[in-house]
Each structure stands twice: as structure tokens, then as C-alpha cells.
């Protein structure tokens, strides 16, 4: 009897120790990230901050970043919807190869992706596109293309998990009720995927807002031309204007927080059946 009791206590103690260890790790990491952000305050001169926020250069960077990120996120989601659906719902030869290739942009360094795009536009096909369709190298469309290249794989991954979670029975029932395959997808699967679509849109948009490596390699870092917010941080740090760089960092943090809060709100109101 006594043995049983001491055995139980031992179990409870080790359970508590495990819980305490994991929570300590979590708290330490939270302090680490909060500490990094707080360290920015030591470099913050509030007058400089306000003047930076209203400066034409930063207003240009904010506008350019929001517009390009919105366009690239919209394009990425539009391209990812059919691709993610195909990977989620169909079996075809080479599916695992395609799946792996689509994961590559997530793990490859964005600079490498940007460099690959830059090289592509130096090939005959790339040069034809540059001349006949649109100029990408060191131009604003280059920012959109760089962001699109980096975020589309993420959008596919997020949407695939959304489609994986939708019971195929809904589509099957809608087929028997008179919907073609396309109509069933539009009328049933997309409404069921609504939360996942919005969440994927927000996450890919937030990722596009912070994109730097591929953007700077393909579109360059030209002030008031291809100057997105991350590029503005880079340019101001390169010019040793730390206070201005810190002001831009705060803008990026604010945009990211808006995205994350929206995401949390969606995830708490999703369907529960």
C-alpha cells in the first residue's frame, strides 16, 4: 500500500518537473524575442521616429511594400488553390516528386531563389520576356515576382492541409445533387475552405511583407524605386542611420502583429462540426 502511494508521488513529481522544464524553455524563448524588440527602444529617438514615419521615403516604402505584398499574395493564393487541391485530392504518376519540388522554395535561401531568377532573365527566354512582356530585373514587377516565388510554396502547403481536412463526402453529395466537378468545387469545397483560404492569405501576405533576399537580388535596392520596408532597413543600416532603420523595423513589427491578430481571430471562429 505504502509502496503504491510513494510510487504515485514519484509519478506526480516527475510529471510536474517535466511541465516546469518545458514551460521554462517557453518563457526563456519569449523573453529572448521580447528582449530583442525592447533593445530597439534603446536606439529609439521618438522625434526621429515620427519624422521618419512621415518622410516621403518611408511613406513610399510602406505603400510599395503593402501593394506588392498584396498583389503577390493574391497571385500566390490564386495559383496555389488548384495546385494544392490537385496534390490533396488526386493521385497521379510522379506526385511525390512534384510534392518535393514544390517544397524546395520553402527550404532554399531566398537569395538563391532571387539569383536563380536573375540568371533566368539572362537566358534567351528570359530576355524575350523582359523585352516583350514586362521588365522584372531591378524593377517593381521584379519585387512581385520575387515575393511570389518565395511565398507560393508556402501557400500551397497551407492550402493542401486545408483541403486535406475537408471530407470528400461533401463534394460527392453535391455531385449527386446536380453539380459538375467544377461547380461542386466552387459551391462546396471553397466555402468549406474559407477559413483556411483567409488564414493562408494572411500568412503569405505577412511573409511577402518581410521578404528581402530574393527581392534585393532580382529587383535591387534602389531608393524610392524598389525600396520595400526590408530594403529600407538594409539601406538605412548601410548608411549607418540606425534610428531610421529602427523606426522602419517598428513599422514591420506593427504590420506583422496586425496579420497575426487577424489570424488568431479567424482560428477562434472557425467551423466546429
Amino acid at each position: 500500500m505504502d509502496f503504491g502511494r510513494s510510487h504515485n508521488w514519484k509519478g506526480i513529481t516527475s510529471e510536474r518537473a517535466f511541465k516546469a522544464a518545458t514551460i521554462s524553455c517557453l518563457v526563456l524563448l519569449t523573453f529572448f524575442f521580447v528582449g530583442i524588440v525592447l533593445s530597439l527602444v534603446t536606439y529609439t529617438n521618438w522625434e526621429t521616429m515620427i519624422s521618419t514615419l512621415v518622410s516621403p521615403e518611408i511613406i513610399f516604402a510602406i505603400k510599395l511594400t503593402v501593394i506588392t505584398a498584396t498583389i503577390s499574395a493574391a497571385l500566390a493564393i490564386l495559383a496555389a488553390i488548384p495546385a494544392a487541391y490537385a496534390i490533396s485530392k488526386f493521385n497521379f504518376p510522379g506526385k511525390s516528386v512534384v510534392d518535393t519540388i514544390l517544397d524546395l522554395p520553402i527550404v532554399i535561401s531566398p537569395i538563391a531563389l532571387g539569383a536563380a531568377l536573375l540568371v533566368f532573365f539572362n537566358t534567351p527566354l528570359g530576355m524575350i520576356i523582359e523585352v516583350k512582356i514586362a521588365r522584372f530585373v531591378f524593377e517593381v514587377p521584379g519585387i512581385i515576382l520575387a515575393q511570389f516565388t518565395v511565398i507560393t510554396a508556402l501557400a500551397i502547403r497551407l492550402l493542401k492541409s486545408t483541403f486535406d481536412g475537408i471530407d470528400p463526402r461533401y463534394e460527392q453529395v453535391s455531385r449527386t445533387l446536380g453539380c459538375s466537378k467544377l461547380k461542386a468545387f466552387m459551391k462546396v469545397t471553397l466555402p468549406l475552405a474559407k477559413d483556411g483560404l483567409i488564414a493562408s492569405g494572411i500568412l503569405t501576405w505577412a511573409r511577402a511583407i518581410g521578404e528581402f533576399g530574393a527581392t534585393v537580388t532580382l529587383a535591387g535596392a534602389t531608393k524610392m524605386k524598389t525600396e520595400t520596408l526590408p530594403v529600407a532597413i538594409y539601406l538605412n543600416l548601410a548608411a549607418a542611420d540606425v534610428e531610421k532603420a529602427v523606426a522602419v523595423i517598428f513599422i514591420l513589427i506593427a504590420l506583422s502583429l496586425v496579420a497575426l491578430i487577424s489570424l488568431r481571430k479567424i482560428s477562434t471562429t472557425r467551423y466546429h462540426l
Binding site: 461533401y170 455531385r175 449527386t176 446536380g178 468549406l192
Partner: protein, 350 residues
Amino acid sequence: MIEIKNLSVRVGDFSLRDINLTINDREYFVVLGPTGAGKTVLIECLAGLHHFRHGEIWLDDADITAVPPEQRQIGYVPQDYALFPFLNVAENITFGLKARHAPPETINDQVTTLAHLLHISPLLNRNVRTLSGGEKQRVALARALATSPRILLLDEPLSSLDVRTAKYLRLELRRLHEELGVTTVHVTHDLIETEEMADRMAVLNTGHVEQIGTPAEVFFNPRNETVADLVGTPNILTCDQVKPIGHGLVEAVCGGMSIVLPLQDGGIRKIALFPRDIYISTTKPPGPELNRFKGVVTDIQPFSSLMRLKVRVGKNQLLAELPQDIFEEMDIKTDQEVFLILKLRRLRIH
């Protein structure tokens, strides 16, 4: 009339082998089979949800094997109902009509008629997530019937409901079938459901049709041991003599057992008695002697979570079943004398 000819298909872990079935117009046809028999695959093939290389499906004089689901004029109620969670009850019911571009007045008329028929008028504006199991089932039925299908496919429609709701809905489904006359294919693993609802039935096991017939034909003449096991291995008693005893009752003498039954049109030749419908007692039960018999246990065998006992009564060897725990509590041995009580309402007569 639906005709399934030589259908063979494999879907995931389930397969169907050489299925041949004919389902008549306005018939309530039940496919009975255990879990994994391929019942859902069969219903999905009828709905056009699977492509298959071997076999054909005909509806009247048309080969519909390659016809897509949206052109088959079928109503389908899956096991989990799959009501669209982003639409309310009324919108779920009208989904099919809107997909087929029905005029607004037809849509309104159909919703009113079906809501009245299925007693769901007060639910029309409700969110489907707030419905009970029975309510969901009715809404799913209304949605399937809204497009006036030629065939109604029901995949285990009562399996997720509590016993009382399922019993009530069995009657409702039968009433609905009689009112609308839609040819219905209903798959289930439930024997009582099959007995109460089927005009005709098929026994499906491991992807193969074992027997087709009316419930009485299958229960009284199981073609093989598999069917006998699936339909509950009934005791079939042949009646030597049947005489009226007044008050609308008859006494049937079967191998030395005198069983009192309500008078039947067309006489009584055989009685099917399922092992689960025989109560066993080690002590003499109180009350009148009617349909109670003394017998001797001749054999005891475990069967799944049950114990199967062979009991000799007169010239008959009756199979009875007891749950393991009750069997152990009663401590029954072979050659022991026991008392049997027959559930009169569960007797099947041929």
C-alpha cells in the same frame, strides 16, 4: 428498374466481385452485410462516384455506367449525412434545386412540401450544426428528395442514431417510401432494420452477393453457413399440425413443441426463431406455461462475445444465445435442464 451486371471494383481496402442485382421499380431494397463487406462502395457505384472497368449499371433501358453523378437523377444520403455546414436547413434542402436552376416557385413549393412531409418545418432557418442526429437525418433526406430523384440511396441511415430515434425513423422511412414510391436502396448491417423495411434484400459479404430474396426467403432458407451466420442462424421449426384455439390464436405443434401464435393468413408451415430471441432460465419462470419449454443443454460453444447453447426440446435442437457474463453467472453446464421462453413478437412465420 436498376440492373447491376457483373460489377467488379476495388476502392481502397474494399472490393466488390461480380455483383449481379436487379432492383424493381418502387421497391425498398436492403443490402445487408457486416462492416467491410463493401456496402458503401456498392452504393457509391450506383451514385456514379467510382469509375470501374468491369461491369455495367442500367437504369430502365439506359446504360448509366459512364453517366456522371449529376445526370443520374439519384438522391444520396451518406452515413454521416454530410449536411453543408455553411448553409442553414432551408438552404441545404434547396441546394440541389438551385444547382439545377429550378424556378423559384418550384423551389418554394418543394421546400414547403418536404418540410411538411418530414416534419421539419420549424427547423428551416436553423443552423445545421445545432440539429440533433434525427433532425440531421430528416434534413439530409429532404435534401436528397428535393430534386425528385428516381432512386434514393441510403447508406446506413440509422446507424448513428439512438435506439428509440432509429426505431421511429424506420417507420418514417417506410411511410415516406409508401407515399413517394421512390425506388430505394438501403445498406445496413442491422438485421432488425432489414426485416422491418425490406421488400427484398441481398446479403453481401466480403464484396460478394451471397443471397437475394425476400427477408422471409433469406431467413427461412439461408443458402449457406455465411448467410445463416449473418442473418443470425435462425432455428427453423417445421410445423406438423396447426389448429385454431379461438380468440384469433392458433396452436402450432412443431416436433413436440406447442407454440401459440396469432392466426395467420395462408397458414403456418415453418417458424423461424432467432437465438437472440430465446430467453434462458435455470429456474422455472413464474406465470402461465404459454410458449415456455423445458429442455436439456446438449452443447455449449463461445461465439464472439456470446455463448451459444444447443438445447434439446422435444425432437428439436434449438440454438440460443447468452452474453458471456450472464452465462458465467448462471453457471450452465451440458446435460443441465433449463427453461426456454420464446419472444412471441420476434417469431417469423412462413
